[in-house]
Symmetry: C2
Subunit: 399 residues, 2 copies
Amino acid sequence: MKSPANGAAAAVTNGEGGEKKSINPELWQACAGPLVNLPAAGTHVVYFPQGHSEQVAASLKKDVNAQVPNYPNLPSKLLCLLHNVTLHADPETDEVYAQMTLQPVSSFDKDALLRSDLALKSNKPPTEFFCKILTASDTSTHGGFSVPRRAAEKTFPPLDFSMQPPAQELVARDLHDNVWNFRHIYRGQPKRHLLTTGWSLFVSGKRLFAGDSVLFMRDEKQQLLLGIRRASRQPTNLSSSVLSSDSMHIGILAAAAHAAANNSPFTVFYNPRASPSEFVIPLAKYYKAVYSNQISLGMRFRMMFETEESGTRRYMGTITGISDLDPVRWKNSQWRNLQVGWDESTAGERRNRVSIWEIEPVTAPFFICPPFFRSKRPRQPGMPAYSRGPCLGLVMISA
Amino acid sequence: MKSPANGAAAAVTNGEGGEKKSINPELWQACAGPLVNLPAAGTHVVYFPQGHSEQVAASLKKDVNAQVPNYPNLPSKLLCLLHNVTLHADPETDEVYAQMTLQPVSSFDKDALLRSDLALKSNKPPTEFFCKILTASDTSTHGGFSVPRRAAEKTFPPLDFSMQPPAQELVARDLHDNVWNFRHIYRGQPKRHLLTTGWSLFVSGKRLFAGDSVLFMRDEKQQLLLGIRRASRQPTNLSSSVLSSDSMHIGILAAAAHAAANNSPFTVFYNPRASPSEFVIPLAKYYKAVYSNQISLGMRFRMMFETEESGTRRYMGTITGISDLDPVRWKNSQWRNLQVGWDESTAGERRNRVSIWEIEPVTAPFFICPPFFRSKRPRQPGMPAYSRGPCLGLVMISA
DNA sequence: TTGTCGGCCTAAGGCCGACAA
DNA sequence: TTGTCGGCCTTAGGCCGACAA
């Protein structure tokens, strides 16, 4: 739990048994976005096959409602021990994703909950970086890259201003540890920071277009790191030539069902920029949300969203309904079972369904010493059904 | 069964519900290679999940022996009705593949066998085309494409030799119906055919390298068609960021098992250049092989292979063993259960295991009126077990 | 017959400050 | 502060026949 970036081991695997290079966890996190929070290896998590299926659907631009058979023996959530987390980046597109090895377990004890909670709280603050959305000028072959002033001053090594014009060579490494060289110069009238020589090689090599983002940061050795984020939400339906989308959906469910039936480990890939929501939730986060928040119609809440330029901001909303997202296949599932409306009319693109662990209720702030640290079943009967009922199946036993 | 290219419907789908453009079946076939023979829609086939699994493994450069659970209820072969065949090409790589909708059936009648046999025989001879492996000069930015003399004379529109030098504009369409323009000129000392202007755009657009192949053909309207074949056998493990390879293998098997249990349709993708062998076999082809060929150790046979430049040639070999490829998961499977040796020492790269329908026995040539057109079980007990036993499950009933 | 090279010309790449949003 | 443009120079692209495999 003390390894970098939420306990995730960082590795790139070039195919089976291929050479492994380490991926910088801070750079991975920066590329993944400020809302992504991977659970720590060795802790307990709650896995939602429904959300996993959604990610596949999103990756394929396909409807979830494919010809997928029902798996009546597969519950809508699985309590799992997270054995392993490795960070990856697609060698072609630099798309970041994480591989997690999960093992279903039938129960957890107080200690597991404490460890999960501790891991959540021990998250390092994210490393500082700067992120710029590329303009038409940045990506044109005609010129170089215009570096925002503050970004250059904060992230790049200082220039020697006795030179005329001040300039230096920058060396930056990407997620695959590939080296990129840039000429950094401070010139023009008015003066500004520019990357010239080497920049267009980077743009064409990564196939960047206006609207995509580039980000720079420095690691603990002060070395420059370089990541990208693509704007184009167009799902790369590359895999379609190998496997039908039906088979993929079935594969997800069958793998989880098989693992659940045998309590055997299974592997999932989480792609933060492809998926609308995380589907492997730290146990403590899940538990706090379900047992601390009393959900009711009309309830007010806040929720974090990512802004352009990789910032975050909260939006206010109201719970307008509580119902199953898929009443046929996933009855009584907590996966995005809250229907919501948003305060701001510009919030049209925001999702109209969320899960309880994604929101912060405004009426009932979270207390430092929540009731769930009592042993056994923390709540008595008589509470609202939606905050308790679906929790059946997550059995906490005394240590 | 009279539609072009073995009854396959030709379509490109750009994602779910996207615009559909037709794929030229002759061009698809030329890109797929001379050995590929798709079964006709509406006929019966035998589907081998084991072979399907091999294709996924090959696409991922992964071992088949992943953490895939056993599916004891899934037989090693499924008799299916082939509802639908559509031809596709990956929009990124031009990789060709076919999508087939299969429905497991429990039995077939004489008529089904006859229809399958008829479809096999009604295959049109493949359209003529020329295929050239690109040289370093062809792909360098320094020059154009050197067209083999015969190819230019056979496939391109004739030049006007009164011009000095003789030249023309060529317009060719690729699998996606994209148009490529080339200047075709006959010049130099000695004289030769060249493609100049437009060629390098094509090379960079398709990301071609020396060793890849390009092929030209003309359709029935005398329009020029243009396809590519990549040399690089490096599997594009693109899909790895979406689905773990375990889930893919499980998905294949679970989809087939579910369909088999319910006699419901399912969809498979067949990628001729990724897969070592076809895994959807026309019923008649399977039946002839299994019931006409008496396999024994030491038996001599011939087998077709694809040469460079898209030709075919036969190699001679000897059966050296008969055994299960995977005795644990696929017991008594006919999938590549023949161990073979090859006459030519240069045959080192050829497979050491084949399936019975892939070979032509030298000792027992196929007769025009084989015994399997008799109704009911065509052979009596007492025949070698390997040519009969595994056929259980394919039940032919009288019409 | 066709792959590669040197010569030569041209179009695209790429560095610059001007200017304005 | 920074996005886009015109000016101007450099480099890589690309067309040619020579030559040899």
